[in-house]
């Protein structure tokens, strides 16, 4: 008797399993398709900012090397070091150190916007009930949406890394430019992936928690600008303790460029915060009420 039951349920169960996968796949592909335009606009913007800064402004910056060195020579060496002036400062990597903030800002705004758009889509269209009558658990919907968001962030980051590497090769024969090697530069540029995932998580959690999402771009800009402003706190005051509340500084680009590593503690902090946001978002998404509005 028991064996019979087992044998009859197994096929239907695996059937259900297969259709669940295909439905999740459907949600995933639907999100990718709907986000294609914002995704392309965001990625092209990021690449444009990167190329303009790195290929356009870097040569001007590098050419100021001699005049700066003249000034520096008149100062005691420890003073120059305090100012952040060392041998690498005029290299391509050194320039990246300063540009990374603007690139992080761009990435943060667009990743947050994607998170808000993907997780808030049905809320904005007032169609949550249509989504939730699909024969699949809400957790699976959340996972499919998350996969779509992560895919976009990862693809954009890879495109960005490729752009950085390509720009770097333009200055290959220049010994000033290449005093920081490409692998370290790529490691430093990978910080954008971290920022992207983190702000995707912020966007996802916000979209799930907010009752109404009036403007995706407005919320995303606010998040990006907050992150950007918070960088100025530890930088201007010189107090390291402010870094805890400043997400951009969790990915220490200088450390990556100088020593080829990130600080484990801050990296762990970033991971914990991202996972916590996504987990809280999942719980709220699964348990949340569908409002009739």
């Amino acid at each position: 008797m028991t064996t019979m039951t087992a044998s009859t349920t197994t096929p239907s169960r695996s059937n259900a399993h297969a259709s669940l996968t295909s439905r999740a796949m459907h949600v995933f592909l639907f999100e990718l398709k709907s986000q294609l335009r914002p995704f392309l606009i965001g990625t092209v913007t990021l690449l444009a900012v990167a190329v303009l800064l790195l290929a356009g402004a870097y040569p001007i910056y590098r050419d100021s090397k001699s005049s700066v060195e003249q000034v520096i020579d008149g100062f005691p060496p420890q003073f120059a070091a305090l100012f952040g002036v060392n041998d690498d400062v005029f290299s391509f990597g050194g320039f990246y150190r300063f540009s990374s903030l603007y690139l992080m800002l761009t990435m943060a705004i667009m990743a947050c916007a994607w998170g808000l758009a993907v997780f808030g889509r049905e809320k904005r269209a007032k169609a949550t009930d249509f989504l939730f009558v699909m024969p699949m658990p809400r957790g699976a919907i959340y996972a499919a949406k998350l996969a779509a968001g992560l895919t976009m962030v990862v693809v954009a980051s890879l495109a960005f890394l490729a752009a950085v590497a390509l720009t770097y090769t333009r200055f290959r024969d220049d010994s000033t430019a290449t005093s920081i090697a490409l692998p370290r530069l790529i490691l430093a540029a990978s910080s954008l992936l971290g920022v992207g995932v983190l702000f995707l998580a912020f966007g996802a959690l916000t979209a799930v928690l907010l009752r109404r999402i009036r403007s995706v771009s407005g919320i995303a800009t606010a998040f990006g600008v907050f992150g950007f402003m918070l960088v100025s706190l530890p930088e201007m005051t010189g107090e390291d303790k402010y870094r805890i509340i400043s997400p951009f500084t969790w990915f220490n680009v200088s450390e990556a460029l100088d020593h080829g590593r990130y600080e484990a503690g801050y990296l762990a902090l970033a991971a914990v915060v991202a996972v916590a946001c996504l987990a809280a978002g999942a719980v709220a998404y699964v348990r949340g009420e569908v409002r009739a509005e």
């Binding site: 900012v49 009036r214 771009s217 100025s232 005051t237 010189g238």
Partner: protein, 300 residues
């Protein structure tokens, strides 16, 4: 049959009744709008207060350095190198220079906030899908928009006020700092608040115009937000290239730099750019009014 006088009296009465109803409606719209704006205002205010506390209070540490050496170094660096490092040619060892850098960030924040305020004034009911309830009120759309803009303006003023008060308080709490003239510093704070308010007006006008003109609400909102980012990038580009002639193009694109920090510290602004800012504000809001009153209220 009424005689002439009675008739006139009746008309006057009904006109005054309609007028008072209009005023009531407008006030109701303004009051509702202000209430809806309170929470975002609180959040932005808390952020700017914390920012001021952390920023202004730390001036002590910055001033302790060797100002002469810093000044010499900043003078000697080419503009592009300084701008890339985010220093620009401000003298960070003085309170004015230090505060100017702080206020640049506050300016970006104020711009984002102003864009949100103006956008909500124009679009709130449309995005919420409740505009039918708003537009059946017996008042013109112009009156409604005026009420909403008035509420938004109140929030902007309150935000700037929070910035001034918290900056001044932090300045007062600042201990003995060598070479700090508190009176002069307070004047600098007031001048930057005027600048901050002007920045908010300009971006508010841009955002209101974009929100009213664009047919799709999210496009209009995105255009308003993009204007802040573009202006910010143009501002950075202007700082980098301010030695070159071509930099004026970037300055035109960046309301943040219509008055440069140096000019704000000295309490002046170039006439041409002040006129340009005023023009943007006038044209932006005027366009918003026209587009708003002609807007097709199609259901989405």
């Amino acid at each position: 049959m009424m005689n002439m006088q009675e008739k006139r009296a009746a008309t006057v009465k009904s006109v005054s009744m309609v007028k008072s109803a209009t005023v009531k409606s407008v006030l109701a719209v303004a009051a509702r709008e202000s209430r809806a704006n309170v929470k975002p205002w609180l959040i932005w205010s808390v952020v700017i207060v914390l920012f001021n506390i952390a920023g202004v209070m730390k001036f002590e540490g910055v001033a302790a350095g060797d100002p002469d050496a810093v000044r010499k170094l900043t003078d000697a660096f080419p503009k592009v190198a300084l701008a890339v490092m985010g220093i620009s040619d401000l003298d960070m060892s003085t309170f004015a220079g230090y505060y100017a850098v702080l206020e640049f960030y506050a300016g970006i924040m104020a711009a984002v906030y102003a864009v949100a305020l103006a956008r909500n004034a124009v679009l709130r009911e449309l995005t919420d899908g409740t505009y039918e309830f708003l537009f059946v009120r017996p008042v013109t759309r112009t009156a409604i928009l005026t009420a909403k803009f008035a509420a938004a303006l109140g929030d902007a003023v309150a935000f700037v006020a929070v910035n001034v008060v918290s900056s001044l308080l932090c300045l007062g709490l600042l201990g003995d700092v060598r070479g700090l003239d508190e009176g002069a510093a307070a004047i600098v704070i007031w001048r930057f608040s005027v600048w901050l308010f002007a920045v908010m007006l300009v971006f508010g006008a841009v955002s209101a115009c974009a929100a009213a003109v664009c047919r799709r609400p999210d496009r209009g909102a995105a255009a308003g937000n993009a204007s802040v980012i573009v202006a910010y990038c143009a501002g950075v580009a202007y700082d980098m290239l301010s030695d070159h002639d071509a930099s004026v193009v970037f300055r035109l694109l960046s309301p943040f730099r219509y008055a440069t920090p140096d000019e704000v510290i000295d309490g002046r602004a170039p006439a041409a750019f002040s006129v340009l800012a005023a023009l943007i504000v006038l044209v932006g809001f005027a366009t918003a009014y026209v587009a708003f009153s002609r807007r097709d209220l199609a259901s989405r």
